[in-house]
């Protein structure tokens, strides 16, 4: 006889989804590495284009590394939900007894682990290529660690909104880039302050607050956007 199904708890479901996403990222290693290579190449282009004077590069380094990190996160955000949408996995996810909020959060967390975190970790290298002053490295890594989390989360909103389209690429950028502005301002602001030897904890605090807000609220928007795209 059939008995009432025992539904796994949220923790189990989140862990399962996280494991699945990381496994998929591992199987598609190229997709993880390419945005990092992209960041490296773009940063290489600037000294070639503007000239290698350390004075000039030093002045633009904080903003530049941040913009490159932002674009590299954006590059990988587009595919966040597309494969799952096409093969019907997303449908199964929304029709499971688990709350979409936490499932979406697990997917975004996985994206941050494979896209945002590596960018934050190679940031010192990018800074070095642009002659970033010594005081800038600490705030650079700290601000990127905090900031990339909201970049992933906000990028996921764009990805969810465009998941039903055949090619979302540019549209995702148009939706998401304006939303990245506050994060960019406070992130690069922290690095500039660090370079000038000023305290930068205020910038990080604001960045942390923005990230917290994004992480808590965005899953609602993402879940809603995914539902709308299913419903056609």
């Amino acid at each position: 006889m059939l008995s009432a199904a025992r539904v796994p708890g949220i923790v189990e479901a989140v862990r399962g989804t996280l494991r699945r996403e990381l496994l998929l990222a591992y199987r598609r290693r190229g997709d993880v590495i390419n945005p990092l290579v992209f960041a490296l190449i773009v940063v290489t282009l600037f000294p070639l284009g503007i000239g290698p004077e350390p004075g000039v590069l030093r002045a633009i380094a904080p903003g530049l590394v941040w913009v490159v990190a932002l674009l590299s996160c954006l590059l990988s955000a587009d595919r966040l939900f597309r494969d799952d949408y096409l093969d019907g996995t997303l449908q199964q996810l929304l029709l499971s007894p688990q709350p979409a909020y936490f499932m979406v959060m697990a997917k975004v967390l996985a994206h941050w682990l494979v896209a945002g975190l590596p960018v934050a970790l190679i940031a010192p290298l990018l800074g070095g290529m642009l002659a970033l002053p010594a005081g800038g490295y600490g705030p650079l890594v700290a601000s990127l660690l905090l900031g990339t989390a909201s970049l992933s989360t906000i990028g996921a909103i764009g990805a969810a909104l465009t998941v039903g389209l055949k090619r979302g690429g540019v549209l995702v950028a148009l939706i998401v880039l304006p939303l990245y502005i506050p994060i960019l301002i406070f992130g690069s602001g922290a690095v500039v302050a660090g370079c000038d030897g000023l305290p930068y904890s205020g910038h990080l605090a604001v960045l942390g607050a923005l990230t917290l807000l994004a992480v808590v609220l965005a899953p609602l928007a993402i879940g809603g956007a995914l539902r709308i795209n299913m419903d056609d």
């Binding site: 006889m1 009432a4 799952d84 299913m230």
Partner: protein, 210 residues
């Protein structure tokens, strides 16, 4: 088995300025099988999508145990197994990895039971092969393995016989009969003439005129 019911009351749906479903009524309870038939484009898949709550652009009511499905979503989805056109088999993952993730969301199941289900569907030896290396029928069978494992009483299956060979069709028909005898319910769409040992209803969708 507890009592349950899924019921559509006067469901109408317009698609591209055409009335696709016009006041469809159907209800399914324990032990019942309902086949939804109709020509291509008559709205079979649309009706199923409305029944599971993916599609919300309709008029009328869909009730789970007398409650609108939107209100009873958590309860409803823990009792529902839905196989859509794209059944949610990730090609980069192996058969076992696919099942594992599905059941981590839906039901606590031991790995051993998943291996047994895959073996019963002729996929033994393929547990750890990535799904993209399998044939369309084998990929479909990964999704069908959920039927063997799941305890969900309500199955909603959209063209479950697609890409399945003749032997597989018979197995699946037996599976549906067994499920109904155990007090489960099945709603399915198919073009294939169902050959079941249990009585079943047929809902013919007219495919409203233009």
């Amino acid at each position: 088995m507890s009592e349950f019911s899924i019921e559509a009351r006067g469901v109408s749906c317009e698609r591209d300025q055409r009335l696709l479903l016009d006041g469809v009524n159907c209800a399914v309870g324990p032990g019942e099988v309902l086949q939804i038939a109709g020509a291509n484009g008559s709205g079979k898949t649309t009706l199923l999508r409305i029944l599971v709550g993916i599609s919300t652009a309709y008029e009328g009511q869909v009730l789970w145990c007398g409650q609108p499905i939107a209100a009873a979503a958590g309860q409803y989805y823990s009792q529902l197994l839905y196989l859509g056109h794209n059944p949610g088999v990730t090609l980069t993952l192996s058969a076992l990895e696919n099942l594992r993730w599905y059941f981590q969301l839906n039901q606590i199941v031991a790995d051993q039971r998943m291996r047994e289900a895959l073996a019963a569907l002729g996929l033994d030896g393929y547990e750890d092969v990535p799904a993209y290396r399998m044939s369309a029928g084998q990929q479909r069978r990964i999704a069908l393995a959920r039927l063997l494992i799941s305890d969900a009483p309500l199955w909603i299956l959209d063209e479950p016989f697609t890409a399945i060979d003749r032997g597989g069709v018979q197995e699946l028909e037996q599976l549906i009969c067994r499920h109904a005898r155990q007090g489960g319910a099945v709603i399915l769409t198919t073009h294939h003439a169902l050959n079941l040992d249990v009585p079943f209803d047929r809902l013919e969708l007219a495919g409203a005129p233009c």
